[in-house]
């Protein structure tokens, strides 16, 4: 089962995933018409900053067991076992914000949405773009990500790749295959800037 995997070290903070997410969850699914919709479509992926001021795409982890699901009063949050996706049912949601208190990643927002009954604010979070997946398209945030910070792949394969990288980096004498040199440069510059700022203080 493929899932969205975040590689924070590759994120440049361009926020294109946010625009793509909002568009994918709009009524018209087109950016130019989406910005004129009411309610205005909003992103379900939230770009924060990471350890070294690099971008960090913060999205629902679809935890198992999901704290939001256990905290939900009306039982509006459920897990689809097949796709490992945690959904909020907008018709059952009472907008009580109990899930805001439970989510350790702060990825749930409360507003009106094209998927919810009109004029009703509900809890909104990532749905793994199930609609797109059913059309055999990858999630919108992954499709639009230019830097490879978001990939859509099998978790075990991604894990294996990372493990191999770590294994290679600790084996002496073997050339460590670098990621893109520009990312390495960018991240090095950011770390250096912060170190300089720290030294100045």
């Amino acid at each position: 089962m493929n899932q969205v995997i975040v590689h924070p070290e590759r994120c440049v903070g361009c926020m294109q995933c946010m625009a793509a997410c909002a568009t994918a969850h709009s009524r018209t699914r087109q950016l130019f018409s989406a910005i004129r919709e009411t309610p205005l479509p909003r992103s379900r992926i939230h770009l924060g900053t990471g350890l070294y001021a690099e971008g960090f795409p913060n999205r629902c982890r679809h935890c198992n067991p999901a704290p939001c699901m256990l905290a939900c009063l009306p039982g509006a949050i459920h897990r689809d076992m097949q796709t490992e996706t945690v959904y909020v049912d907008p018709d059952r949601c009472i907008n009580c914000a109990s899930c805001a208190m439970a989510c350790p990643f702060g990825v749930i927002r409360y507003h009106e949405d094209a998927s919810a009954p009109p004029k009703k604010a509900v809890a909104i979070k990532c749905d793994n773009c199930m609609e797109r997946q059913q059309q055999e398209r990858v999630p919108a945030c992954v499709e639009v990500c230019k830097s490879g910070a978001l990939t859509f792949e099998d978790n075990s394969k991604a894990l294996k790749r990372k493990t191999d990288q770590v294994a290679q980096s600790i084996s002496a004498g073997i050339d460590v295959p670098q990621g893109s040199p520009s990312f390495t440069l960018l991240n090095t510059i950011k770390r250096a800037q912060i170190a300089v700022r720290h030294a100045a203080v």
């Binding site: 990471g50 350890l51 009472i94 914000a97 805001a100 208190m101 702060g106 409360y110």
Partner: protein
Amino acid sequence: MNYVIIGNGIAGVSAAEAIRQLDGSCGIFMISNESVEPYCRPMISLVLEGTVSASKLPIRGSSFYQSLNITPVLGSRVARMDVDAKILFLSDGKTLPFDTLLIASGADPRPVKAPADLANIFFMRNQHQVLKMLEALPRTRHALVLGGGLVGFKAACGLLHRGIDVTMLIRSGYPLSLQVDEIAGGMILSELTRRGLNVRVGTEVTAFKGINTVTGALLSDGSEICCDLVIIGKGVLPAVSFVPRDRIQVDQGIVVDNHLETTCPGIFAAGDVVESMDIARKTRWVNAIWPEAATQGRIAGMNMAGRAVVYKGSLSRNVIRIFDLDILAVGWVNAPDDPRFTVLSEHNQCLNTYRRLVFEGDSLIGATLVNRIETGGILTAMIQNEIPVRASKEKLLEPHLSLKSLMF
């Protein structure tokens, strides 16, 4: 093996599910004084408000007992119990033997001093009481709500939503004084008065007036108030009347160890009836809230079925939405004035936001947020997991928490 669960609230239901998951063949009995299927108790105020119908309350559907092969014993209370013979005596004269027992009897509303035997004076604790209120609403012009705690407050909001004139009597200076601090309480109070609520501070009812139905109330300050509906929300008390205190230790609630077992082996307790270790206060405390009841029920159930699972302790937390105000309070928000505790706060009157954080040393132990509450879960997780804050504590006050703000 016979498991008996007293109570069919969320603690009892979660326990039954956990037991059934681990033991497919045992007998499970659930006793409840309510005869309806398990429902979401915190949502009854929304039924009063009229935004949710009573049909939306059930949490597990009508086939809950059947699908888990549970024998429900509905409509009766436990009168007393014999812990040596392992027998429960029910109020209707029946007896029920048990091998392992869970006390999840919840809590009962705290009564008022004034005699309250007239019609249209209600407690708000269960579905039945709210449905009775709904019957009385068409004839209600002016309602009186006693108590500014969560229940009184939700009752008042519900009635205001319906356009009914509401007067609220509170003993302390502002509503929700147990949940929030003075500034947040003031913000709540001003929002409520802006929406038409009359609040009288520092008084209580000495007597109710009326012949069969309530028509008014006499107050301790000598004045008199006209009302045709009264809702009493003076807090709750753990329902422990049937518990033999010489065998099972009861303080404010039933005292449990970190496996939620009482001082009597084989008897467990979960939910509003329990006094457990409070993570923020580091002392025993009754945290009568829904998410703790659900967690405790599940863990107690697993322990009862023989799988030892440790319960970390409870943490008070509440999220309340009233009109245009979102309030989230978690942990020990009203820690006493003591050099042990550091309090940081920020009140932005332009954005109408307020944040107040309480630290003990490096650890966050309490937080109150008014508006912009989306990241409250991160703070809750920090308190719950006792994660020390080594970076600048001021950064935690920012509404947009990020890793960066925590590190630099």
